[in-house]
């Protein structure tokens, strides 16, 4: 027979008592309990504890508890389900906004690369301080693109906030 530590034995017996074992396992533990004194004694001890815990009683709140809750809920309406008022279109628009910005910068960066330049020098040969960033921000199209994005972001933020305000008034402000 495989040697079990005390903890392993307890674990198996608890699984047995809790009914968490498959048919074969259950049969094996049942045989061990029946044929080995140590298993039998541990089983009796844990079963007594199990039955003892089962005796535990639930605490009871005051007699007025249910009435208090009912009086309290009378002031409220049930809030609409979250899935109903969270507009997925808004979530997708916000995600689209950030993805567009990232893509725009990547495309712009790639378009600025001088592919005909020699490859002898590595990335670290380039003096980053000498890079001229001014065309990036002086470009009319880029500025227009950034402005359009900022306006779109403000528009979306306004929609999200007004939606939240409506929901807030609908749920918490509905005291009758």
């Amino acid at each position: 027979m495989k040697a079990y530590t005390n903890e392993e034995m307890e674990m198996h017996i608890w699984e047995y008592i809790d009914g968490q074992l498959s048919g074969d396992e259950r049969q094996r533990i049942s045989e061990l309990v029946a044929s080995h004194a140590a298993w039998k004694s541990k089983y009796a001890e844990l079963l007594a504890l199990h039955q003892g815990i089962d005796l535990a009683e639930l605490d009871q709140p005051s007699m007025r508890f249910t009435r208090n809750v009912m009086e309290e809920i009378a002031k409220y309406h049930i809030a609409p389900a979250t899935r109903e008022y969270i507009n997925k279109k808004i979530i997708w628009s916000i995600a689209g906004f950030f993805v567009t910005i990232i893509l725009a910068f990547v495309v712009y960066g790639i378009s600025q690369v001088d592919w005909s330049a020699g490859t002898s020098g590595g990335l670290f040969d380039t003096d980053l301080r000498s890079v001229d960033y001014s065309p990036l921000f002086n470009n009319t199209y880029i500025n227009f693109f950034l402005m359009a994005n900022v306006v779109a972001a403000l528009f979306l933020l306004d929609r999200v906030l007004s939606q939240k305000r409506k929901n807030f008034h609908r749920s918490s402000g509905s005291v009758e």
């Binding site: 007594a48 639930l58 208090n68 009912m70 409220y76």
Partner: protein, 193 residues
């Protein structure tokens, strides 16, 4: 008048505008919720207030209950998060504060009962007192498993843990409960085993 319907039937009635049906749910689960809250919050007054808030919160967000899990599992999840939020807001109480309550509960034996009733009452008081001596997590896992009719998977969902972690925690919690009982209630434990 309300008959004792299933949780789901009652929830449908509440969502349909019958607020009184919620009273049946409150009556059905108030002891479970209050007991779990008491595992975290030792003051009965605070525990009662938090329990009421839990039922109010559950009512307000009842339409968020999807019915994929048991209502009790959903309710106990709200209970656990509400208790943790309450404890975060309030300074933790001294653990020794509950000793008085624990030993008072252990001594709570009515002199007017028969010998068998007294013995049974004494056993119950012993187990309750020993559970109250455990950490909130240990006491909660034992309460949910034995009294809340929750499976290990459901307890894992309530406590935000893996089922295997809960299984080990339950096993250890029972071990610690046994130690407490043997240490503090040696005489009663002899009768129990």
């Amino acid at each position: 008048m309300h008959t004792e319907g299933s949780d789901m039937e009652l929830i449908r009635q509440v969502l349909g505008g019958d607020q009184n049906a919620y009273g049946v749910l409150v009556d059905r689960y108030k002891n479970f919720v209050f007991t779990i809250v008491l595992r975290y919050i030792k003051s009965r007054e605070d525990a009662e207030e938090v329990s009421q808030d839990i039922f109010v919160k559950a009512y307000r967000f009842l339409s968020d209950y999807k019915g994929t899990a048991k209502f009790s599992t959903w309710l106990y999840t709200i209970t656990t998060t509400s208790c943790i939020t309450f404890l975060r807001k309030k300074r933790p109480e001294n653990a020794s504060l509950d000793d008085e309550r624990v030993f008072a509960a252990a001594d709570e034996v009515d002199g007017g009962m028969s010998a068998n009733q007294v013995e049974q009452k004494s056993r119950i008081a012993t187990v309750n007192a020993a559970i109250n001596m455990l950490s909130p997590d240990d006491a909660q896992v034992i309460t949910l498993f034995y009294k809340g009719e929750q499976t290990l998977e459901e307890i894992a969902q309530i406590m935000g843990k893996e089922p295997n972690t809960v299984k080990v925690q339950l096993h250890r919690a029972r071990g610690r409960l046994k130690e407490k009982m043997e240490k503090h209630f040696a005489a009663e434990v002899k009768d129990l085993y």
